[in-house]
Symmetry: C2
Subunit: 230 residues, 2 copies
DNA sequence: CCAAAAGTGTTTCACTTACACCCATGA
DNA sequence: TCATGGGTGTAAGTGAAACACTTTTGG
């Protein structure tokens, strides 16, 4: 390693794949570009990293600026650095995935973006740059992640039914799960709080609500629990 | 995202944590810096990414230049971007891990390096920059990786005994494994070729040699095998 | 009373774990 | 002949998977 100023430097960006789920779909938040290149195309939210911040800070900042999402668990998962990936020249991007409660956020187009909207993963427009590969790798990572870490709860409302939890897993994993086995397993981990509350406004028997208890999760983990679901 | 030339740019480097095992230890390849900052300190091999290459290319190139290792499976695992991490200023680094057959490589100090040597992970010097965190995260990743993907074979000679395989796992995972269960499991996957050859020059019964067959592994995977060991 | 989803246990099977002795070889 | 690691099988236990009916509620 020599003196850094001797070397040409890339532009450094972050791209964030923001996932949410509703009753029907796993969705990704996209923005429509307001500037060239790819003006008018849909793309991932993201932008340039600044000198006084880490890439994590930059991803959070862009998330706030472009989508109004104030805080979300973020995870860095891959650097995209093919020299040809950006027509403007040498632009290296760090990809993140973020999980949000779809219900709690109203999206808002911001700087540089003409529009912002949620798209079901099953029906997405074609994307600018190499953003399609970035999204498809993100889905892969999310699938792995959700099975081994209790991150799926970040996609649900704070209070949820076991059926909502199961549906979320089924959408992320893209396969059906057995109801009884699923419930048995989740409950046996002892990481949920059973609330004295049930669903409202449903045209059938109201389901019990639960919430994820991170403290209990950490305790269970110390006692030897290995989280695994799906 | 706006025009990239409007933005300040970081220097971009790669750092490679090269792992090897011998009969005694899990080891990491380090170089002793020949230039400031941290002149004389031990550090990870690595260097600046060039404009016409991806970070993967850069990692491979640095590996070749600094250690003589021509090809090794490389995996990107984290970006380190704390603005304070490098006293020279804004230097963002992409960390890789690489697995090599210790026996097949003679290390050689190269450009910018005063010396290069293998250190047991249990007895490493203190390192330049944030390289200690980079190494400790790499060990974590290696542990996860080796249990879920057949990458450990890259640390062994092409022909190995089941005991060597087990010892390698034990060093990486830092725990003892049961001999009979380990053998049963590995062999049941049907991904090894049992050679008509045995160990040479040992002062006891010579063990049978095996080799890993990637083609068979891929077939087994298509048939539904989920690799898991340890 | 009907539609819709909530809620609940048992059996089977596969896999993991624990465990100890004889064998082959070279010194 | 001894020291050193090589090589082997079984039984018990644990966790995963398959599977269907009754209950509650609102409309």
């Amino acid at each position: 390693m020599s003196h850094s100023y001797e070397y040409p430097r890339p532009a450094l960006t972050v791209d964030v794949v923001v996932f949410g789920v509703d009753e029907n779909d796993l969705k990704v938040l996209l923005i429509q570009r307001g500037l060239p290149p790819y003006e008018g195309s849909w793309a991932l939210p993201g932008g340039f990293v600044q000198e006084n911040e880490s890439v994590e800070d930059a991803a959070l900042r862009e998330l706030r600026e472009e989508t109004g999402v104030a805080r979300a668990p973020l995870e860095q998962y891959q650097v995209f650095s093919d020299p040809e990936r950006d027509p403007r020249g040498w632009v290296v991007s760090v990809a993140f995935l973020a999980l949000v409660r779809l219900s709690s956020h109203r999206v808002q187009a911001a700087t540089d973006a003409r529009d912002a909207a949620w798209f079901p993963t099953s029906d997405m427009p074609s994307l600018a740059f190499d953003h399609e590969s970035i999204v498809s790798l993100a889905r892969e990572r999310l699938r792995e992640r959700v099975q081994r870490r209790p991150v799926g709860f970040d996609l649900l409302p704070k209070k949820f039914t076991l059926t909502q939890l199961q549906r979320m897993y089924e959408k992320v994993l893209e396969r059906a799960l057995d109801k009884r086995n699923f419930r048995k397993k989740v409950l046996s981990m002892d990481i949920l709080i059973e609330l004295d509350e049930v669903q409202k406004d449903v045209a059938h028997r109201a389901a019990r609500l639960y919430s994820f208890d991170r403290t209990r999760y950490r305790e269970a983990e110390r006692r030897g629990l290995v989280f695994g679901l799906g």
